[in-house]
Amino acid sequence: MPGTTLPGRGGAAPPGRSGRGLDWLNFFVANVQTGFGPFVAVYLTSRAWTELEIGFVLSVGTAVAMAAQVPAGALVDATPRKRAAAALAIAAIVAAALLLAALPDTLPVLLSEVLHGIASCVLGPAIAAISLALVGHDALGERLGRNARFAAIGSGIAAGLLGAAGTWLGGSSVFWLTAALCLPSLAALAAIRPSDLRPAPVGPGAGASGGALRGLGALLRTPGVLVFACCCGLFTLSNAAMLPLAGTQVTRNAGDEANLVIAACIVAPQLVLAAIAPAIGRLAERRGRRAALLLGFLALPLRGLLLALVEDPLWLILVQALDGVSAAGLGVLLPLLAADLTRGGNRFNLCMGLFGLAIGVGGTLSTLIAGAAAQWFGPGTAFALLAAIGLLPPLLAWTALPETRR
C-alpha cells in the first residue's frame, strides 16, 4: 500500500522536489499540532493551575480559533504569498510552544493559546492553498489524499513520541519538542519551489476586506456551501467527544494496560487513515465526491453505535480504528469540496475557513453535550446519542449535497 505512488498513475505527475516538500510539511505540521491537544490541560494541572483557570484559558483559545477561521481564510486568499503565510504561522506556533514550555503563567499561556489559535487558522488553509497551486484542480483529490496520509503518519508518530516525553521527561519537554519540530516543518516548506506553484486565478473577491465580506455573502449563496458546512458541524458534533469519552471509559475499565490501550486508540485511526486516504482521494476523483464523502460519513454513526456496545479493550481499539475512515473522508473531502465550490474564483481559503468555523462550533458543543449525557445517563447513552447525531451528516450529504466533480 505505501508504495503506490509510482509514475504512470493517470494524471498526477510524480511528486518531485516540491511535492516531497509538501509531503514532509504535512508530516511535521501534524507532529507539531499533536502537543497542543488535551495535553495542555495535563501540563497546566501539573503546574498547579486550577480547573477553572485551565478552563478559562482553553476557552479563550477555542474562541479565538473560531473567530479567526473566516478572517484567516480571507487573509490567505488575499495574499499571493501562501508560503510566507505558512511560514509565519509556523513561527507563531514556535512562539506559542516556547511560551508554554518556559513561562507557564496566566498571561504567557493566554498569549500562547491566542497565537496558536490564529496560526492554526492560517496554516491549514495555507497548506491546502499550496497543494492546489502545486497540482491544480484536476489532481487535487489525489494530492489531498497524500497530504492526509503524511499528516496521519506524523500525528501517529508524534502521539507516541510526545506521550513518552510527557510520561518520562515531564510536561514541559513536550512543548520544547514541539517547538523543535517546527524547524523541520520550515525546512520542508522551504523545499517547495515557488516556481512550481501556479498562482490562483485572480477572480472576484481578491484584495480588500470589503471584497472578502462580499465574497462571504456570495459563498453562502453558492449551492452546497451551507449544506457542507452543516455536514462539517454535525460531523464534529458527533465525532469530537467520542475519543475522549472512550478514553475515560478505558481508564475506568481497563487495568494496568489502560495507557497502552488509549495510545492504541489514538494511533490506530492514524494508521488506517494513512493507509486509505490516497484511495479516498482517488475514489473522489473517479466515482465522485459524494461517494467518497458518504463512505467516510457512514463510518461515524457505526463507530458511535459500536462504542456504545463494546467494552473489551481490544475490540475498542478496532472500533476506534473506524475513526480513520471517517477522518480520511472529511480530511480529504473538506479541502476538495472547498476547491470545487470556489472553482474559478479566489475564495478557496475563505470557504475552508467557513468549514473550519463549523467544525469549531461542532467540536465545542460536542464535548459539552456528551459530557452532560455521560454524567446524567451513563456513557452508553452518550455514545448512542453521538451515534444518532452522526447519522445526520450522511443523510444531509445524500439528500442535499450536489456532486461537484467535473
Binding site: S46, A48, T50, G166, A246, N253, A254, G255, A263, I266
Partner: protein
C-alpha cells in the same frame, strides 16, 4: 499600622460612641503618641513573626505534583486535598490516568494510600485496583479509594520504603 482599622470598624458598627472615641483619639496630647491602643489584658505585645527557614528540598508544594503508581511510572497529579474538620488531610483528589491528556478522570484516594518521600509521591494502589472505581464529583458524597480491607499489613511489594529512585 494597625490603628486605622479598628476605628473604622467601630465607626461602622456603632457610629455615635465611635465618633466620640474617634474625636478623643484624634486629639491626643502629642506626648501620648507612641502608646499602644487599648489592648486590655496582655501587657506584652506579640513580637514580629519568627522566621522558620526550610532548607531547600525539605518541603514541596502539593497541588499539581505528579503521583507515581506502584510500578514507578506517573499515573496522575494531585489537584486538591480534602481536609477533615481538624485540619488533617483525609483524601487527595487526583487527575488520574490517560495518555497525552486523553482519558483522564478525577478520583479521590484516601490520604493513607499516598506515600511521600523526597521528590516523589507514590500511590499504593495499582491501576488494576483502581479499575471501575467511581469518579470524584464536587458536591457529591466523596468515595475515596483506600487499601483493600483484606491486606491490612503491608503488602509484599512495599518492602523498600526509603529508596525512591528518582531520575
Amino acid at each position: 499600622m494597625a490603628r486605622p482599622r479598628p476605628s473604622t470598624i467601630a465607626f461602622r458598627t456603632a457610629a455615635l460612641p465611635a465618633l466620640l472615641m474617634l474625636a478623643a483619639a484624634d486629639a491626643p496630647p502629642p506626648t501620648a503618641a507612641p502608646s499602644i491602643p487599648a489592648a486590655p489584658a496582655p501587657a506584652a505585645a506579640p513580637g514580629p513573626a519568627a522566621r522558620e527557614m526550610l532548607e531547600s528540598g525539605t518541603a514541596q508544594r502539593l497541588i499539581g505534583r505528579d503521583v507515581a503508581g506502584p510500578g514507578g511510572d506517573t499515573v496522575g497529579r494531585i489537584v486538591d486535598v480534602l481536609l477533615g474538620d481538624d485540619g488533617q488531610p483525609r483524601a487527595a483528589v487526583l487527575d488520574y490516568g490517560g495518555f497525552l491528556g486523553v482519558g483522564r478522570r478525577r478520583v479521590a484516594v484516601a490520604w493513607r494510600t499516598l506515600r511521600f518521600s523526597a521528590g516523589a509521591v507514590r500511590l499504593e494502589l495499582s491501576r488494576d485496583q483502581m479499575r471501575a472505581f467511581p469518579d470524584y464529583r464536587e458536591g457529591e458524597p466523596v468515595v475515596a479509594a483506600a487499601p483493600p480491607a483484606t491486606a491490612d499489613a503491608a503488602p509484599a511489594e512495599t518492602s523498600a520504603p526509603d529508596s525512591p529512585p528518582r531520575d
